[in-house]
């Protein structure tokens, strides 16, 4: 918990290892969004993004964590969601961010789709070390 001029930050992390954790994480994200006064529509967009990020952790890395951080900056709240794993990492982020690309035979729309659901999107990945995806959504 950190407090400074008009900014309140508080981070909650949940472990992601099973498909039940995927549902729990997106439900938690939606609950936080609704609590902050996000519209039902924006809350669903965020929950959908979290579902995709959490599933990527289970599918590619086996386990990892998802953290939620709420920032109330001069009255306009935002939620930052960080999905972190120590899995195999992504060799080509450029390729992974292209619509239609996948290494697991899935739809291959994961990351580019997630980027469209949120306001800010950042990804870092090191092969053999893991992947961190950070997304942020502002209350509209």
């Amino acid at each position: 918990m950190e407090k400074s001029l008009g900014v309140v930050e508080n981070e909650i992390c949940v472990l992601i290892a099973t498909d039940q954790d995927v549902v729990a994480a997106r439900q938690q994200g939606r609950a936080i969004a609704l609590q902050l006064g996000f519209s039902a529509s924006d809350s669903t967009l965020l929950a959908t993004a979290i579902s995709e990020l959490a599933r990527n952790i289970v599918t590619y890395a086996g386990h990892g964590e998802i953290c939620f951080r709420v920032t109330q900056n001069s009255g306009r709240p935002s939620i930052t969601v960080t999905a972190r794993d120590s899995g195999p990492g992504i060799a080509s982020i450029e390729q992974a961010m292209r619509d239609g690309y996948s290494t697991s035979g899935s739809l291959g729309m994961g990351l580019p789709g997630v980027r469209r659901l949120v306001d800010e999107f950042e990804i870092t990945s090191v092969v053999g070390r893991g992947t961190t995806v950070t997304v942020r959504k502002w209350k509209s």
Binding site: T44, E52, L117
Partner: protein
């Protein structure tokens, strides 16, 4: 969380009651493909009103159900996708490609009754 499947005449109706995990979705797929022949159903309706999120896995599984049911000689109608869920699906880049959808259970049943009457 098991999804109850009810038989109404020649139609099977699966009503999702709460958010489904990936394994729940796969279990539903298996149950529908098995039951459609056992019940000699001509169609199934999957009611997704209670689905909180339709992500890539859920959408793909629903498309697969529809294709498998077609191979079993019956038809699938997906109903009840909520407005916010539909919005998120489109933003994510998902489609239900070629799968029949209807607003709600009532519309889905009406569609099938109309269609079967035409065939008969």
């Amino acid at each position: 969380m098991e999804v109850p499947i009810l038989k109404q005449g020649e139609i099977l109706i699966a009503t999702v009651q709460a958010a489904l995990t990936d394994s729940d979705l796969l279990q539903l797929r298996r149950a529908l493909v098995e039951k459609v022949a056992k019940a000699r159903a001509r169609a199934i309706i999957i009611d997704l009103t209670a689905m909180d999120v339709m992500d890539s896995f859920a959408s793909r599984t629903m498309r697969e159900v529809a294709h498998m049911i077609r191979l079993r000689g019956a038809e699938t109608v997906i109903v009840g996708i909520q407005p916010d869920v539909a919005f998120a699906m489109v933003q994510l880049g998902l489609t239900m490609g070629g799968v029949t959808t209807a607003l709600d259970l009532e519309e889905g049943l009406e569609y099938l009754h109309r269609k079967f009457r035409t065939i008969l």
